[in-house]
Structures are given as C-alpha cells and as structure tokens.
C-alpha cells in the first residue's frame, strides 16, 4: 500500500505543475521558424531566376543572390527535423562537412560524363547530394578548379540546375511547414509528438545541436590542433563566408534561446548576455575564412570565440534544460 501512495504522489506533480508549453511552441513556430523558411524559399527562388538570366560564375548578380540565399539557409539550418528531413532536403541544400572530398568528385563526375541529369529537375534530384546545394554551387562559382573543366555550356547548365534544385527544396520545406507547424501543438498518441514535452524537446534539441555544430564543427574543424591547424576545413572558405556563418547562426540561435526561455527571466538574462558577448566577438574578429588559425595570434582569437559559444552551451544544458524539465535527447552529431 505504501508503494501505491508513493507512486500516486510521484505521478501527480507532473500534471499538477506541468508547464503550459503551447504559447512558447506557437511563438517559436509563428515568429522563428515560419518566417525563416519563407525567407529561404524567397531568396532561393531569386537565386534560381538570377542563374537563369546570368550563369557566369563571376557575375555580381549571381554571387549576390547566392550570398542572400545562403544567408537565409544558415539562419534556419538549426531547424533540422520534420519537413527539412523529408527526401533528404536539408542534406541536398547543404552537404558539409565534406570529410572525404565528395563534392568536387561528384561535380567532376557530372561534368566529365556530360551527365544529362542537369536537363531535368527530377533527374538531377536523384544525383548525389554532394553535387547539389550551396556547397556545390560555391565550388562552381569560386573554385578555380571548376573554372574551365568541361564545356562552358555544360557548366552553365550545371549551375542553373543546382540553383533550381536549391529553390525546389527550399520551397518544398516552406510549403510542408505550413501544415507541420500545427503538429507542434496538436500532440497526442497518433501524432508526431505524443505530448508537448516532446515538441518542446524538439525545440530544445534544435538549440543545443545548433550550438554544438557551431562550436565543434564550424569553429572546431578549422582549428584542428595547435600543432596541426586546418584552415582548409573552414566552412565555405572559398567564398570567405566561414566567420559570417558563425555570426548568422549565433544570431538565429539567440532568437530561439530567448523565446524558449521566455518563462524563465533569469535564464533569458544569462542567454542575452552570453549571446551578445559571442556575437560581438564574432563581429570584431576580422578573419572571414579563418585563415588566421595557422598563426598563434589568429588561433587565440578563434579559440576565444569558441569559448564564448561553449559558455552559451553551458547555459542551455545546465540552466534551460532543467528549467524546462527537458533532457538533451539524441541528435545526428552523436556517433563519430
């Protein structure tokens, strides 16, 4: 009998003090996710149309459209669940890190074979994700290795195919989110999320995984070790966007963190200060593609930035997680 009483006592507080998650989930969907994916769809559409009008790799208009669309992706790329994972859309938009050089190989293969897949969107969508998306487009626009490989006509077709494929994936994610957003609050036995704790955990995971990716991958990969820095591993280094991606991701993650912690002002305050410090440090770093990691001075500055991101991670895991009563769960960065 004592056991029953104890269990009842344990079961009750969970519901009695359950946090009402719905306002926060609605706010994140309406103000954080939906506008970001809408912007990605718009800028990706502009990119595709610009490529149709002018496919020269050094075209200012094309490079500007590429930069805008890539910015939009980085600002929403931490929302890796649901619509972004259908048909490998997110991987098709951005295959990175590329630890084995799949992207240059996939592009070379398409060009050398004069692969007809570039003529049809559906066929191109069947090809390797490494030859599609922003990182493939970056090599076509900025890497001298692809400036004269194959015929100019084929390279143009390939650039247009990549841009159109980016637009198609961005639009598909945006469209699906219109209905998926409702599943965040309409939880239940037969829904994607069994209860709003699970929906909330998804948001929390987006924050913690996004921070982990920026600290360990965006910053950690080029840092390498002190004896062996790896500047060539910096993200989008060819278009000198590496540091920009860190800054954009921090700005987007700050927005998410503040919304997630809305019911816990002390956590919000700590997030605000820690993110401000990290973003400010990123903005004053002045090393766009982290080439400086090879020098002790430059390395120190990037490590200092990484440290500020670690500070934010600590707030997320030791303050926000417990405040929300939510655990870290598993993410795709688990494993090696």
């Amino acid at each position: 009998m004592r056991k029953l009483v104890l269990l009842a006592a344990l079961a009750l507080p969970l519901t009695a003090f359950a946090q009402d998650r719905e306002p926060i989930l609605l706010d994140i969907a309406q103000s954080h996710i939906l506008p970001s994916y809408a912007r990605l769809a718009d800028t990706a559409q502009v990119l595709s149309e610009t490529a149709k009008a002018d496919c020269a790799p050094n075209s200012d208009a094309l490079r500007a459209a590429y930069a805008d669309a890539f910015d939009s992706w980085i600002s929403v790329s931490h929302m890796r669940f649901g619509p972004s994972e259908v048909d490998d859309r997110a991987f098709s938009l951005a295959f990175w890190p590329d630890t084995k050089g799949f992207t240059p190989r996939a592009l070379s293969r398409l060009i050398d074979d004069n692969d007809n897949a570039v003529q049809t969107a559906a066929e191109f969508a069947e090809t390797s994700v490494a030859g599609r998306g922003f990182f493939a487009l970056e090599q076509m626009l900025y890497d001298p290795a692809f400036a004269d490989q194959g015929s100019a006509e084929y390279r143009c077709d390939l650039i247009r195919a990549i841009a159109a494929d980016i637009a198609a994936n961005a639009t598909a994610i945006d469209t699906d989110w219109q209905t998926y957003a409702q599943s965040l609050t309409r939880t239940g036995e037969n829904s994607r999320y069994r209860n709003d704790d699970e929906a909330m955990q998804e948001m929390f995971k987006a924050l913690s995984t996004g921070l982990e990716f920026t600290a360990d991958t965006r910053l950690g990969r080029p840092l390498g070790s002190f004896e062996r820095p790896r500047p060539k591993r910096a993200e989008a280094r060819r278009s000198a966007r590496s540091l920009r991606h860190v800054e954009l991701s921090l700005i987007a993650l700050q927005d998410l963190a503040l919304r997630l912690s809305a019911d816990h002002p002390d956590v919000t305050e700590d997030f605000q200060a820690a993110f401000d410090r990290a973003i400010q440090r990123a903005q004053s770093l002045g090393d766009p593609n982290f080439a400086g990691v090879s020098t002790p001075e430059g390395r120190f500055r990037v490590e200092a930035l990484q440290q500020t991101v670690s500070d934010i991670r600590r707030i997320a895991n030791t303050q926000l997680g417990p405040a929300l009563g939510i655990g870290a769960g598993f993410n795709s960065l688990d494993g090696d």
């Binding site: 056991k3 029953l4 269990l7 009842a8 344990l10 079961a11 009750l12 519901t15 490998d88 991987f91 098709s92 295959f95 630890t99 084995k100 050089g101 799949f102 996939a106 069947e126 090809t127 390797s128 994700v129 490494a130 069994r194 704790d197 699970e198 955990q201 390498g224 070790s225 062996r228 060539k232 591993r233 490590e303 990484q306 440290q307 670690s310 500070d311 991670r313 600590r314 895991n317 030791t318 997680g321 417990p322 009563g325 939510i326 655990g327 870290a328 769960g329 598993f330 993410n331 795709s332 960065l333 688990d334 494993g335 090696d336």
Partner: protein
C-alpha cells in the same frame, strides 16, 4: 478536460503496473549488461583468434583455399563484434579504444597498392597513397620513418591516424578486410574485392609486389586485433575497469545503456553509415566495402541493440546468457512503453533482415546504393526509418526512468570550460 482524463489514466497505469511487476534492482540490470558485454567481447576474441590461425595458414601456404578460409574467418569474426558496438557510446572506455579495431572509412592507399581511379593525395589527406607495403622508408609530418620491418608497434603508434587524419586507418578489422579482399572495383556491379591469393605468394609467383611485406602487414594487423580484443575483454571481467565504471553510479549506468542504444541507432548506424551512402550514391560508401559485408554490419548492430534491451545474448557456441534487463525496468514503470520499445526493435530487425536476406540472395549493398535504384533505396531506408523510430522510444524511456538530466553531468566541455583548451 482531455488533460484531466490523461492524468487519470496515467495514474491508473502507474497503479496497475505496480501490481504487475516489481522493478528489478538497477545493480542487477547493470551486472547482466556487463555480463553480456564480457561474453560478446570474449566471443569477438575467440573469433579473432580463429582469424589469426587462418591468416597464419594463408601466409605459410598461400593458395586460393587458404585465402578463402581467412576470408570466411573474418566474416565470422564480424558477427559477435558488431553486436558489441552498442556498448560503445555509453562507455567511454570502449569509445576511446574502438578506433583501433573498427575505424572506418579508410584511405586504403595508405596501406597497399590501389587502382589508378582511386586518385592521389587529397586536400584532406596527403598520405592517402603512401603505400607503406611498397615503401620501407618515408617521411611523415617532417620526420623520417623506418618501416623496414612492419610490426604491430609501427602500425599502432606511427601509421594509425597518421598526421591526425582519421581516414589513415592502419589497424583493425577494415585494414585486414582490405588485405584479404582488396579494392572492390566493380562499382555498382556484381562482386566484392578480388585480391588474388598470389598477392601472398613468395618468390617469383608474387603478384602486386612486396608480398613478403604484405604478409608482414597482415600478420601484424591480425596480432594487434587479437591483443586489442584481449584487453577489452579483460575490462569487462570481474574487477575490470569497464565494469567498475558502470557500477559507480547506478542511474548513470542505466543512462549509459540507453545512450549506447540511442547513439548507435540514430547518429551512427542510421545516419553516418546508412543514410549517407544512399544520399551520395557512392558504391564505396559502405561499412565493409571490400568484402561487401555491409548488410551484416548493420544487421548485427541492430541485433546488439535489441539483445542489450532484452538482456539476453546467445554466445557463438550456443551458450545463453540472460538476466535482469532494461526491459524489466521499463515494464515496472510503464508497461506500454516497454511494449512499444519491443515492437519497434522488432520492426527494425524485420527491415534489416529484409535488407540482409536480399543482399544474400545476390543484390549486394553497393548495388542498392546506385543512383535511381528505388528498390535498393527502399531496403536501406527501411532500416534507417526503423532505427530512427526506435530512437524516439529510447528517448521516451530516458524520460520515463527520469534520467533526463544525467547527461549534463560528466561532460568535459560543458562542466569544465578550460578542458576544451587542453
């Protein structure tokens, strides 16, 4: 109103379950988990010793028959080993060691001759075609290396992960696999690697050059595998470090079981090993690309996850091991959740089994990866979806057993910010 009903029914469930089953002691669950680890690593060791004997026979008397026996012994050795991988991510002692025996993917040109289509040194790895078998001396990161004698020490201490590059895999199952099968040059076509036995013939019959050094390499790598497995098997015996670490904190120990199951299911097997290959359509982007044994790698990963949850394992000689299980623990707190977990594990095994049986019927894993091959993609993605789906339930168990916050303890980079600079 719905909320009220949900709360009531949850309460009813709790009361009902209390009447149905008493929770096993966590210490018993952990002890059985460690017993199964001990048996699995011991089986891996026994199988590796059989491989070692077969490799010695191949080297002493190279022929088609001895090469085939060595290959068969390698395939058999993978069966228990892949089932141990569920111990990896939850137990630091395993994860720190694992790279010696099962590192993947590898730039095999580091070890031996490769086809011209393999390419040369890459942006990521300037030693991708070092070919140590053909080169008794070379320079590594500015230092001269004397490789005139290929020893276990040379492989483990100098060559493995040379230049800090993970793709420089000089030791373990996959290095041995490459030495037994060679590159699979069939692309998406039929067939695995086809290294001739004469690559080990001494004297004039030698093909591929440097047969004496190739034999030395194979022998050193196999000896190393045996000694590495010996070490790990000992860690799980009574008084071993792995067993002791698990017993330090019972809740953390239970959490380690779930971390191992979840990380292997999701990030590692479903993500890194299966989905990536489908997305890249690359015939060599498979776990055992030389032997074409990838379907078994994934299948036995799945078996390992399932048997750790159920707390039962059948040894390679047929001896059953069983005891208090995580499943028992879940039944005591939420029987419906236990049913859900068992069902999802079974679904995954059904999907992985379909992939395995289709591969065994002749439709190899690298053929499944071919661009536009919808049937192959469906076979692989069936396994991926099962693994992803079961991870969701593993997360629910973490929550149900109130282990949510465990992970936040003991993480170096989070608890001790200075550690990241060390």
């Amino acid at each position: 109103m719905t909320r009220f009903f949900a709360a009531t029914s949850a309460l009813t469930l709790c009361i009902a379950s209390a009447a149905v089953a008493d929770a096993p002691a966590k210490a018993d669950v952990l002890a059985n988990y460690a017993n199964i680890a001990e048996a699995k690593y011991d089986d891996s060791l026994i199988a590796a010793k059989k491989l070692q004997a077969a490799v010695n026979a191949l080297i002493e008397n190279p022929s088609d028959a001895t090469l085939n026996s060595a290959r068969a012994a390698w395939l058999a050795a993978r069966v228990p080993y892949q089932q141990t991988e569920v111990y990896r991510f939850g137990n630091a002692i395993v994860d720190d060691w694992e790279g010696k025996v099962n590192a993947w993917p590898l730039d095999e040109g580091l070890i031996d001759y490769v086809d011209a289509s393999y390419g040369g040194p890459s942006d990521e790895n300037e030693f991708a075609v070092l070919n140590v078998i053909a080169n008794p001396s070379f320079e590594l990161s500015g230092e001269a290396v004397d490789a005139s004698e290929i020893t276990p020490e040379l492989l483990a201490e100098t060559l493995h992960e040379a230049d800090g590059i993970e793709a420089n895999v000089a030791t373990g199952y996959h290095a041995i696999e490459f030495l037994l099968w060679g590159q699979d040059l069939n692309g998406h076509g039929t067939g695995a690697g086809n290294r001739p036995w004469s690559d080990y013939a001494q004297g004039d019959d030698c093909t591929g050059g440097n047969c004496d050094r190739r034999a030395q390499y194979l022998s050193a790598a196999t000896d190393l595998l045996v000694s590495d497995l010996e070490w790990m098997a000992a860690q799980w015996q009574d008084g071993g470090a792995a067993r002791a670490a698990l017993a330090e904190n019972e809740a953390a120990g239970i959490s380690a079981i779930l971390t191992g199951m979840g990380s292997l299911s999701y990030g590692e097997t479903a993500g890194e090993r299966m989905r990536l290959g489908v997305m890249l359509n690359d015939p060599e982007e498979e776990h055992s690309c030389f032997a074409d044994n990838t379907h078994n790698d994934h299948y036995y990963n799945g078996v390992g996850i399932q048997n750790v949850y159920l707390g039962t394992y059948t040894r390679i000689d047929g001896t059953p091991i069983s005891g208090a299980s995580l499943s028992d623990l879940v039944i005591a707190s939420d029987p419906a959740l236990d049913t859900e977990m068992k069902m999802k594990l079974a679904n995954t095994m059904l999907a992985l089994g379909l992939m395995k049986s289709t591969a065994e019927a002749g439709f190899a894993y690298d053929q499944m990866l071919e661009r536009g091959n919808a049937g192959g993609e469906a076979l692989i993605m069936g396994g991926v979806n099962g693994l992803v789906d079961q991870t969701k339930t593993i997360e629910r168990i973490v929550t149900a057993l109130e282990l949510d916050q465990i992970e936040f303890e003991g993480s170096d980079s989070l608890d001790n910010p200075d550690a990241v600079f060390q």
